[in-house]
């Protein structure tokens, strides 16, 4: 099978490309905004480090588990996209291509997107041996809470002035956590009584 047809090989190439792009953006940003670029470059370093750790500990899914292997590469690619995107925003801000505050906004927009993606897939995640209505209800509740919170946070960081977005975004995340806790307690009580 050609490397371009093998989905895992394609993902490996894409991941390598993302890491190289991240390093390029990171080196562009490092001289002008080291305080923003350094943590992101360290974050980028965790991707190959995480992969190597899994490989060393024997936890990397083998060729006999292609679905899990694909899932792992997709997760690494997702993380790579967020970090490379953030480094690109910092580099662009450092070079004066975009306003300074957009570099900060990008990080928050990316985290809102991650929340949406994780929330969307959460109810689909099979919990081995758990087919109970309580598990299902909690997974659905968390999924919807993550997605709606992510969408609200994304809109806030896209539209409001930076100072207002910081306060409002924090309030939205706080409210979402409180709501999720209260709803989970309610589901558990209902399941225990019925």
């Amino acid at each position: 099978m050609k490397a371009t047809q093998d989905p895992i090989a394609r993902r490996r190439i894409a991941l390598l490309g993302l890491i190289l792009l991240g390093l390029l953006f990171g080196s562009l940003a490092l001289s002008r905004r080291p305080e923003a670029a350094l943590p992101l470059l360290v974050g980028m370093g965790t991707l190959p480090a995480g992969w190597a750790l899994l490989k060393l500990t024997g936890m990397l899914p083998g060729n006999d588990r292609p679905k899990q292997r694909l899932h792992l590469y997709d997760s690494l690619l997702g993380g790579g996209l967020v970090v490379t995107g953030a480094l690109a925003a910092v580099a662009a801000a450092a070079l004066g291509v975009i306003p300074e505050d957009w570099a900060d906004r990008f990080g928050m927009l990316a985290s809102a997107l991650v929340l949406i993606v994780i929330g969307n897939g959460l109810p689909k995640k099979p919990e081995p041996g758990c087919t109970g209505s309580r598990t299902q209800a909690i997974q659905r509740l968390l999924g919807w809470t993550f997605v709606i919170t992510g969408l609200i946070a994304f809109t806030i960081w896209l539209t409001l002035p930076l100072a207002v977005a910081e306060v409002t975004g924090l309030a939205v995340y706080g409210a979402a956590v409180l709501f999720a806790i209260a709803a989970i307690v309610r589901i558990r009580r209902r399941a225990d009584s019925g």
Binding site: N120, L122, P126, T131, G132, S133, V147
Partner: protein
């Protein structure tokens, strides 16, 4: 994704998903809610399983179905329900053809 749209375009399958939203159910308990034959229900379950919208687990003699819908898929089902989307009956439904 087309398998998801196909699965959600049928009112019976949407009703199955709505029932499973409350709690996981056995194939028999689900079938009790519909006035259709067992083979027809089996075809509906198969379509939903192939679209990865439900998960089946064998326990003893019965099969327990549980929901496996992402938030986006649930939202799509909501839209399909709101606009009452249905497979066009002027074209033969492949499922019905298989059954007959």
């Amino acid at each position: 994704m087309s398998s998801v749209f196909k699965a959600l375009s049928d009112p019976t399958r949407r009703k199955v998903l709505q029932l499973l939203r409350r709690k996981p159910m056995t194939a028999g308990a689900l079938a009790d809610h519909f006035d259709v034959s067992k083979p027809t229900m089996s075809v509906h379950f198969k379509v939903l399983r192939e679209a990865d919208l439900i998960h089946s687990e064998k326990r003893g003699k019965s099969i327990i179905y549980s929901l496996r819908m992402s938030v986006l898929e649930e939202a799509l089902m909501g839209f399909a329900q709101a606009f009452n989307l249905e497979v066009r009956r002027d074209q033969p439904d492949p499922d019905q053809e298989k059954e007959s």
